[in-house]
Amino acid sequence: MDRRMRNDKNIGTDNFDAGLTDAFSDAPLCGALGSIDDLTRRRIINDLIEEVETFERSAIAEAAMKKRGGGVFAYAAAAGFVVLLAAGGFWMTWNGSGPLAKDPDTYFGEVVDCSASLFIDNDTAPLHAPIPVGKAVQTTDGTALLRLPTGIDLWMDEHTETAIATLTDDRVILSVDRGEAWFRIDPKREGPALSVVTPQGRIEVTGTIFVVNAQPGEVLVTLLRGSVKVVLSSGEKRLSDGHAMSLRKGASYALAQEEKRSMHHRLAALTWEVDTLADAIDAPPEKGEAPLLNVDPSISATQSTPVQAPEKSDPDTLLAEIQTQRGRGNWPKVESLYKKLIRIAPGSETAVVSRVSLGDVYLSKLHRYKDALQQFERYIRSGHTTLLPEAHYGRCAALKAMGDSLSEEKCLISFVRRFSSSLQAAKAEARLNALRGERLR
């Protein structure tokens, strides 16, 4: 029986009372009327804090005004100033300058879309939040679209970190520190020249659409339209559209048709049109075409990743071999077989589904949690749905193993909301309650 109830005298804590306490003792945090989703919750909290701050600012301003005893003239002057400010803002907007910075020295652009929690300098950022210069912008389990002045759109995939590193009159430098970022630069833009820095090199940009994928030990730049110059420690190289370059090796390669198709789908989702990919959509796969350059981030930096001719092994044979090696507990061999399967039949259902199996091997057998996380995320991004609950749950487990309890909690919230009738839902909810209990203490 509950301690408090034992100590309460003369209440008559009978079976009914004990039964009521038991029934409500593990009531979910969402209460009687169901849960609100995480994004709504965050927006409510941000709105509440903003409301309080706005009230405090106006209260301070009013107190200062009264103290000065300005009277009617002061109020008129303030009103006139506000009108001038509004007129100035209207003129700037009419001029088509777009969302100008509130203060050009500290802010540059704004968040125009985000599908889940977005953080700026480790604080949650609402929609239309201005982006401060020099502060990290991070997505977690959602994507975000940033619009920067004079024709720069930056779309961030999940678990991506970028920043406006530097802003001067003649140059803006953006950084992509991890994850995947898609850039669309208006060819007709005017304004400061644009550079993008990554952990392994710098990209000088003109009018173009390109993608930066920054993983531990490997940065890949893919150009979809226009031209960029890549500055490496070994010198400068130019990248043409329809090509990708590994900054670690300084070598570029032409995108395979399959890669082009995949990128076309992403661009269609973003409604960014690119003519150079149009040929990939209509043309059938070429015979003997070299498979995708394996940009699997699970490959370590010390391994080389040459473009290989198609393998002779077929997926069914590989699967049989994988089962054999699993039975023997030869997990490094299991890992290499799964990677081979993914390499030889990258778009096949077997290969896509194998990512979840490989993620599970990394997580539970090889204890390579970052690699596990990447495999689960690649499955989730593939659009495949058969093992979606398993992939999401695996993601939560990987984050837990990595000790990232904040991301784990967000992942679990999303999981419990989306897959409430899955096999793992009860465990996920128990873990979520445990995390919240730790936080409340």
Partner: protein, 186 residues
């Protein structure tokens, strides 16, 4: 305590931390006090704003959750008071079926809680309040009396009465009566 002090001084990050800590609990309390989702959100948001404004008054003499529950109850009472007498009577006697959404859990418990909540929503506010504090948040009778701003004896009497009312409702519900057979003393 330090976080509360920083939040009172205007630290946005500290305010966000306090809200992250308390919002779910405040929303949970509000949702048990009213059957209307909209009203629960109104109560929750008003209570949160009151919490943010009153952080300067928090002295750390009780837990911050206890302090927030107190504010939530007062806020809810204020919102209920503003309703006209006619609205209150209409709601107490002619309530529409409340919106109850439960997560899938172990068989039986979720359904029992869901049905109990339906009955709870049909009770008078003061009875509902005391049952929520006692059985949802697990407060002792002394804490419950303090939160409801009534003497301990009044809280005891009110709790006895509300349990008796709820028990009668349970006994008249044939399905729920079967589920909670072991609770009902013969």
């Amino acid at each position: 305590m330090a976080v509360a002090r920083r939040a009172a001084e205007g630290d946005a990050h500290a305010r966000c931390s306090i809200m992250e800590l308390l919002f779910d609990r405040i929303h949970k309390t509000a949702s048990y006090l009213t059957s209307s989702r909209q009203e629960a959100m109104d109560i929750a948001q008003s209570a949160c704003i009151e919490v943010l404004f009153s952080l300067g008054d928090y002295r750390g003499e009780s837990s911050i959750t206890y302090w927030a529950d107190r504010i939530t109850l007062k806020t809810a009472a204020g919102i209920f008071r503003k309703k006209t007498r006619r609205q209150r009577i209409r709601e107490e006697f002619f309530q529409p079926e409340p919106e109850i959404v439960g997560l899938e859990e172990t068989a039986g418990r979720a359904e029992v809680r869901s049905q109990l909540t339906v009955l709870l929503q049909k009770m008078k506010r003061k009875h509902r309040e005391i049952l929520v504090l006692r059985h949802v948040h697990g407060y002792s009778i002394k804490e419950t009396a303090s939160l409801c701003d009534v003497p301990i004896e009044t809280a005891r009497a009110r709790l006895k009465k509300s349990r008796s009312v709820l028990k009668k409702k349970v006994l008249s519900d044939p399905i729920l009566k079967g589920w909670v057979r072991e609770w009902i003393e013969e």
